[in-house]
Subunit: 265 residues, 2 copies
């Protein structure tokens, strides 16, 4: 499918205007059915749909490997994917109990409970345990490579890129209109290629949202590197689950927000 679509626009320069064609980034709606029940509808970029579906199921903990899957059918024209798993217990109910991590984290909050700090205490992830060590110059290289990857980004400005690397090179890279989809695509492709995740690094073109740290924590990925700013809760969660968080990688500068021992200065 096309990644971009031409759209008639009125281009205005100061007070002068003229009609022309402009490229828009394509947004596509993919509905996932798991064991014949509708699971979710993802608004995404129309490529790597198999990777996206597998990565979504993996980060939602509905599958752990390809062996869990009995059948897998994508109808790209209809925007529908049907997945059957061996263990039928991965029902919609289980999905909903795990779906919005923020919801499950906040499950115990009542008007009587004791505040926002509880938020982090409710996160139910094992601390990440990895002694990988990454050279600081590699970070500059990876970021340049990640940002250079996308032709779509360069022509439309509307997508996020995510790369998965080891300490030497980029292993998998994907882009999407939504940053969490781009991460799921990378995870799905890693699953297809049987890439071990617990010693890898994630590179983000965009901001670090709390959701990205949660996904990384669930998969025990030890390092996250972003071009942009993290929020206070992202940094707090990274510290809590022992993830190395690097942000604001621009030119020859960066900030290390947590667990700097994995960065070789």
């Amino acid at each position: 499918m096309n990644k971009t679509i031409a759209c008639k626009v009125i281009k205005v320069v100061e007070e002068r205007s003229y009609a022309c064609d402009e490229l828009l980034v394509c947004e596509y709606s993919l509905t996932i059915f798991l064991n014949s029940k509708r699971l979710a509808t993802l608004l995404c970029s129309p490529e790597k749909l198999k990777e996206l579906t597998l990565g979504f199921l993996r980060t939602e903990r509905l599958i752990t490997s390809l062996k869990d899957i009995l059948s897998f059918n994508i109808d790209e024209e209809k925007g529908i994917v049907e997945v059957e798993t061996i263990d039928k217990d991965t029902s919609r109910e289980i999905f909903y109990s795990k779906k919005v991590d923020l919801e499950s984290i906040k499950g115990t909050i009542t008007p009587k409970s004791s505040g926002t700090d509880n938020f982090l205490n409710e996160v139910n992830c094992e601390p990440v345990n990895s002694d990988i060590c990454l050279d600081v110059n590699k970070i500059y290289d990876f970021m340049t490579e990640d940002l250079d990857y996308s032709e779509v980004f360069k022509t439309t400005g509307g997508v996020h890129c995510v790369a998965l690397c080891d300490t030497e090179e980029i292993k998998v890279i994907a882009e999407d209109v939504a940053r969490h989809n781009a991460l799921d695509k990378v995870i799905g492709e890693a699953l297809l290629k049987d890439i071990y995740l617990k010693d890898k690094i994630i590179i983000l073109s965009g901001r670090v949202s709390l959701e990205m740290i949660l996904k990384a924590a669930k998969l025990q990925i030890p390092v996250i590197i972003s071009k942009s700013a993290p929020t206070s809760l992202s940094v707090a969660l990274a510290k809590k689950v022992n993830i190395t968080l690097v942000g604001f990688v621009r030119g020859n500068k960066m900030n290390i927000y947590s667990n700097q021992e994995r960065i070789n200065l």
Copy 2:
């Protein structure tokens, strides 16, 4: 509450590094209880929390005006707001049926249905009917003003700004770590100030997501202006519901994607 928080970081410049304090944008967790039932947890910037709650209830169509509210209590320390409405029918069930618009849009999709184009056909909003006309030079002014608004943005790079204007000036402006919260804050403040919405304009510092067009359509706001790129579905929805969508407002240039008759060139 503070909008930013100091955080110890390791700053790296080339291969040199030193410890220093860096400002992070604060993220805060606000749980809304409606008629004693937990409705939602919003991750947001810790300001204009009353406006955020009211705007969220309004854009979710759980209230239509302040008259619908019987009592309203915020506990900022606990991150909890309790709202009681006169009509108790605004239950969690109704909320969930309307919560994720994308879900309700896709409610009728089955493996037998006929594809992504259905997506737009399922949107259940009245077309926006307004004959306001906005001067093109005002758009440049508004965008500069919107982007200049936020000290937090300038110091941390981590927030989105949204403004509500008439054809002459900015009426309400808000910022948040999440763009949909910034829009809800603006809507909530408009509700508090009894500002009529159906002849107003929304200015966004960030990208136009489909969700923003949906929120505007539900409130019948006729014009959306963004610094960044819209996606193909955003443009398609704007056209369908008769919203004027302007994007890529940078320097003295912009693109008009739909319904240009409301822009005075």
